[in-house]
């Protein structure tokens, strides 16, 4: 009787790894976690969408330069976050990025391309670092990174898509309003962070 129970227990304990092996369950979970992570924080979502809005407002070449460079610079920050390199004031920097990017859209600010690229690049490092330090241990690194980068890029795409309304007169006003809204919500988030 005891031996039969032992056999059953051994079978139950050893079965799952075999049953799930062909579905790559762990790796798929890593991809989904990576996709979810960038959209799980409002501060990040606002800033990512604002980058797209601002790029659309600035027009070419900024509209394509920002989505090409942002993921790389952000991943650079993420790499340092993963390595445990400390960066002071990360959360404040993330919240500030939403405020400043929102204000830039609200004011329809048109700085030289290099200034816009450096500004967005600095914010990208903050966002990447924050994500890098929050990445869960034990997840599939590659699949998680793929999901994470794809979700971030999609948020930019959403921003650029919304920003396409810039070609119409009413759209320009609405876009500036959206910028103001982003700045206001980011300011509330910053207030909650420091209060």
């Amino acid at each position: 009787m005891r031996a039969r129970r032992a056999v059953l227990t051994a079978a139950a304990a050893l079965w799952p790894a075999l049953a799930w092996a062909h579905t790559e369950q762990g790796r798929a979970a890593g991809l989904l976690a990576g996709l979810r992570h960038p959209v799980s924080g409002l501060d990040h979502v606002l800033a990512m969408v604002a980058v797209g809005l601002w790029g659309a407002q600035l027009g070419p070449p900024a509209v394509w330069l920002l989505p090409v460079t942002f993921p790389m610079v952000m991943a650079f920050g993420g790499m340092f976050g993963l390595m445990g390199v400390r960066l002071p004031g990360v959360e404040v920097g993330v919240a500030l990025s939403g405020i400043l990017l929102g204000l830039a859209v609200l004011a329809e600010w048109r700085p030289p391309l290099k200034v816009a690229a450096v500004m967005v690049g600095v914010f990208a490092v903050f966002h990447g670092h924050a994500h890098g330090t929050e990445l869960p241990a034990g997840a599939s690194g590659l699949l998680y990174s793929m999901g994470f980068v794809a979700a971030t890029g999609t948020l930019h795409g959403v921003g650029i898509g919304i920003g396409a309304i810039h070609r119409w007169g009413w759209g320009r006003v609405a876009l500036r309003g959206a910028g103001g809204l982003v700045a206001a919500v980011a300011a509330v988030l910053l207030w909650r962070l420091v209060a």
């Binding site: 051994a10 050893l14 993963l82």
Partner: protein, 199 residues
């Protein structure tokens, strides 16, 4: 006697149920080694994404580079694979994966002008390296040369489709989409480097 039988049953259950988890990443379709190779390539981003990046790079360089890469990449992959089947893996493939993402993604993102011959040379080099590690994994999984043929056949189709798609596009925005794809690949490579350095 009964106790002995139960002990044997316990041992048999453990032996039957234990072994496969270690090779979970090598997908078995049940349709034979060729289709195992096909599904392995299609479900392994460590190989699929660099192959796609190389196809995008070749497509950015025009039809001639695309045609050359279409044959040099699978040829290198097959050659490297046969080598991997014969010789055990001498190092981890993790460094190669990261390097492939960074180098190939970077070239696509920058829309670098390398020239047709250099693109073909890169295809051959990356094909040899990835193929070698594939071959070593195939040897461990006992899929043999037929599994490798499945991988190379899928690779041929993927490169043909992706490179042709890029050669065919002329709209400026669509070319930028290709560069954005390259920047995503670099970003993934950088994060992968961070994961590796974190240990």
């Amino acid at each position: 006697m009964r106790r002995e039988t139960a002990r044997r049953a316990l041992f048999a259950a453990a032996v039957l149920l234990l072994p496969h988890a270690a090779h979970a990443h090598l997908v078995t379709t049940g349709l034979g080694p060729f289709y195992d190779g096909v599904s392995h390539f299609a479900l392994t981003p460590e190989d699929l994404v660099p192959a796609l990046a190389l196809a995008l790079l070749a497509g950015q360089h025009g039809a001639r580079a695309g045609r050359l890469a279409l044959f040099t990449l699978p040829a290198g992959w097959l050659l490297g694979g046969l080598l991997g089947l014969a010789l055990p893996a001498v190092a981890s493939a993790a460094a190669l994966t990261t390097a492939s993402f960074l180098v190939l993604g970077g070239l696509v993102a920058a829309e670098a002008r390398l020239g047709t011959e250099k693109v073909a040379g890169l295809a051959l080099l990356f094909g040899l390296l990835h193929g070698y590690f594939n071959g070593a994994a195939m040897a461990l999984a006992r899929l043999g040369a037929l599994g490798l043929v499945g991988i190379v056949s899928t690779l041929f189709v993927v490169v043909a489709l992706a490179a042709a798609a890029v050669v065919a596009i002329h709209a400026p925005w669509a070319r930028i989409v290709v560069r954005v794809a390259g920047s995503w690949i670099v970003a993934i490579g950088l994060l992968l480097l961070g994961w590796t350095l974190r240990g």
